[in-house]
């Protein structure tokens, strides 16, 4: 009877472990396939073409150029390697500026032919129109539509996922924002976290500790949106006054909020690690005549280094992946930050803010998955670092 129960338990454990691992692998696989799908998407919005006059020699425009043309930042074909000719843009919304309702017909059935003749008669015009509206025999040429290239994505500095005709998916500002804000968050949280942990485990009396520890752990239970709101209403105006900034929503506001959020994790784990330091080590150090501070700095902290390191990494993990609080206080401006006092945009905030209405399967949706993949690699790398640090420590201690 006991044997059977034993076997059942073992079987259930194996099965559940196996199923969980497979599910996790499937999730990662899904993330990767969706993310990689971005590079199979076309630059110009699906179902649409950019039509130009057949005498225009320009055939290739990259996404950034298309955006510049339609934003009227690029106004001459010369800048795109064409003749010296001013660029005129045409969108479907401009239809009523060129044609009357009667010309278009009640169901707009004449729209295609009218646009075709308009483009054919104006040498500098580029029209952004649905492919299906252009008649088959139209004597127009289309701008070549290539796939979104990895270079545009990984080295691009402009994030315009909903721009038409061609969205821009430059992730550099988001990546820089995430790393920048997390780096400063850890820079702030680390000294405070370690000193609180040392105080609690080495200095504080049992009563103080019994009060402090639950209070700090309580910080962990506060929803992140509450921290975000606190940041927006207290920290943002404060920074604005202290540094005389034109705008308080900044990377620093995000870092401070993240530091407060990462503190409980760092404190709890580091405190536990230091308290687990063998009593014999501590007593030996004191018996040799070391002062209390020397014991803490030279014996307790080094011997519990791997525990402290994992606390720090868990803290970094929380900071990098944190969404809501950052979304509310960093201003979400997708520019590469030059200082921590500028607004910036992080990867998790971007995913949270945009996934809701990105059409499933489209380029925007896939670009958000790609951001997820990048976030995955960042945390993966950090975990590897910790493994390395703690294994080195173990080797040294043994």
């Amino acid at each position: 009877m006991k044997k059977i129960a034993d076997k059942t338990v073992r079987w259930v454990l194996t099965a559940s472990g196996f199923v969980t691992s497979v599910v996790i692998l499937l999730i990662i696989g899904f993330l990767f396939t969706e993310g990689a799908g971005l590079f199979g998407e076309k630059v110009i919005e699906e179902g649409y073409v950019l039509a130009v006059n057949k005498d225009n020699p320009v055939r290739v425009l990259d996404a950034a150029q298309i955006k510049a043309v339609f934003d009227e930042d690029m106004t001459n074909w010369k800048e795109a390697g064409g003749p010296d000719l001013p660029i005129e843009t045409f969108r479907l919304e401009d239809m009523d500026e060129y044609f009357t309702e009667e010309q278009l017909g009640p169901q707009y059935e004449n729209a295609g032919t009218l646009i075709t003749s308009l483009v054919a008669s104006s040498p500098g015009m580029v029209a952004f129109v649905p492919e299906s509206m252009i008649p088959d025999d139209a004597r127009l040429v289309f701008i070549e539509d290539c796939n979104i290239s990895p270079e545009e994505v990984f080295a691009g500095t402009e994030w315009y996922p909903t721009a038409t005709p061609a969205p821009l998916f430059g992730i550099l500002p988001l990546l820089a924002g995430t790393l920048w804000v997390s780096f400063f968050a850890i820079l702030i949280a680390l000294p405070f976290g370690i000193s609180i942990a040392v105080y609690m485990s080495e200095v504080a009396s049992e009563r103080v500790r019994g009060f402090l520890k639950p209070v700090i752990e309580l910080l962990n239970g506060i929803p992140s949106v509450v921290y975000g709101f606190f940041g927006l209403i207290i920290i943002v105006p404060l920074l604005q006054q202290v540094f005389g900034l034109p705008v308080g929503e900044s990377g620093l506001a995000g870092s401070i909020v993240l530091a407060i959020m990462a503190l409980p994790t760092i404190v709890t784990v580091a405190d536990d690690a230091m308290r687990n330091c063998p009593g014999a080590l501590r007593e030996g150090s004191l018996a040799l005549g070391a002062t209390r501070w020397q014991t803490v700095a030279r014996v307790v902290i080094p011997s519990s280094m791997s525990g402290i390191a994992s606390g720090v990494v868990l803290g970094i993990g929380r900071a990098i992946g944190e969404t809501m609080a950052v979304l509310m206080v960093t201003g979400n401006a997708a520019v590469v930050p030059h200082s921590i006092l500028e607004p910036l945009r992080t990867i998790p905030a971007t995913i949270a803010a945009e996934l809701g209405e990105a059409p499933a399967g489209g380029a925007h949706y896939q670009s958000l998955f790609l951001l997820g993949v990048i976030l995955f690699f960042i945390t993966f790398f950090i975990n590897l670092c910790v493994e390395y640090i703690s294994s080195r420590n173990r080797a040294k201690n043994s």
């Binding site: 979400n332 945009e354 059409p359």
Partner: protein, 277 residues
């Protein structure tokens, strides 16, 4: 994403309404009133965004799609390929107010100035008649229908500058504009309060300016106004027609006004109430 479920009683033939979060509170209010007068009916209202609503209409998982923008050409093509013919009804209008910090002396801007500000071509208030102060531009997130509409109407379909601060909600824009001296942002008319200052807007190059208000939006003198739509399958007219005509009735349009939107037919439902702030 706020998904509100509203179920009264489970009888057969429930009407499912899904889509824009802008229209969600209004439609819930309308559904409540509709059920009060039609106790045997059943209406389920959920949000999720305009795009979600229209794709639900496509998959036949909703009967009415709420939309804070007009159906896109691509979506129309998809409906056509499924042999669906969607009817379009405008239930209300929503006006957007451009707001600045109350300490800002600027009280009117032209569309061209707004375009230059939101595109980063004008970066100091002194260029539009204000103090020598950097302009801090607040916008909504790209997923928002408000973002799209402001881009279409005010920016003439051009892109916002890359340094624009995107806020996750209208409340966050109000909070930020309230505490940032050089701020400018845009919010729905219904959200206007005393902590932010609306500016008069001109679409004719400065000849005439209009302050945002329900009346000015209804008589057409205030230009930044967008229609809010219901889309439904023409073949289902019999099932959804009662609710849609209730929404357009005097009673329905009265609650449109109460929710801070502009009624479709102002002459019928306007009661001389002045919503301007």
């Amino acid at each position: 994403m706020a998904i509100a479920l509203f179920v009264i009683c489970a009888t057969a033939g429930a009407q499912r309404i899904k889509g824009s979060d802008t229209l969600l509170p209004l439609t819930q209010e309308l559904a409540e009133e509709y059920l009060a007068s039609h106790p045997d009916g059943d209406v389920v209202v959920t949000g999720g965004g305009t795009g979600v609503g229209i794709s639900a209409l496509l998959e036949n998982t909703t009967d009415i799609a709420m939309a804070s923008r007009r159906i896109k050409f691509g979506e129309k093509m998809k409906l056509a390929s499924e042999n669906l013919n969607a009817a379009e009804v405008i239930v209300a209008y929503d006006a957007l107010a451009v707001v600045v910090n109350p300490s800002n002396p600027v009280d009117s801007l032209t569309r061209e100035q707004l375009e230059a500000i939101f595109r980063g071509k004008i970066t100091n208030w002194k260029d539009v008649g204000g103090e020598d102060r950097k302009i801090v531009v607040y916008s909504r997130e790209t997923s928002s229908g408000t973002y799209e509409f402001f881009k279409e109407s005010v920016l003439d379909n051009k892109n916002y500058m890359s340094g624009v601060l995107s806020m996750p909600a209208t409340g966050a824009i109000i909070q930020s504009v309230r505490q940032t001296k050089g701020a400018i942002g845009y919010i729905g008319l219904a959200y206007l309060n005393r902590y932010v200052k609306p500016v008069a807007v001109s679409y004719d190059g400065g000849l005439s300016y209009a302050m945002p208000s329900v009346d000015a939006a209804a008589d057409g003198s205030y230009p930044v106004v967008r229609p809010l739509y219901y889309y439904y399958n023409v073949e289902k007219e019999g099932e959804v027609g009662a609710f849609v005509s209730f929404a357009l009735s005097d009673q329905g349009q009265a609650s449109v006004l109460r929710q801070g939107f502009v009624p479709v037919n102002m002459e019928d439902s306007s009661s001389g109430e002045d919503m301007s702030l």
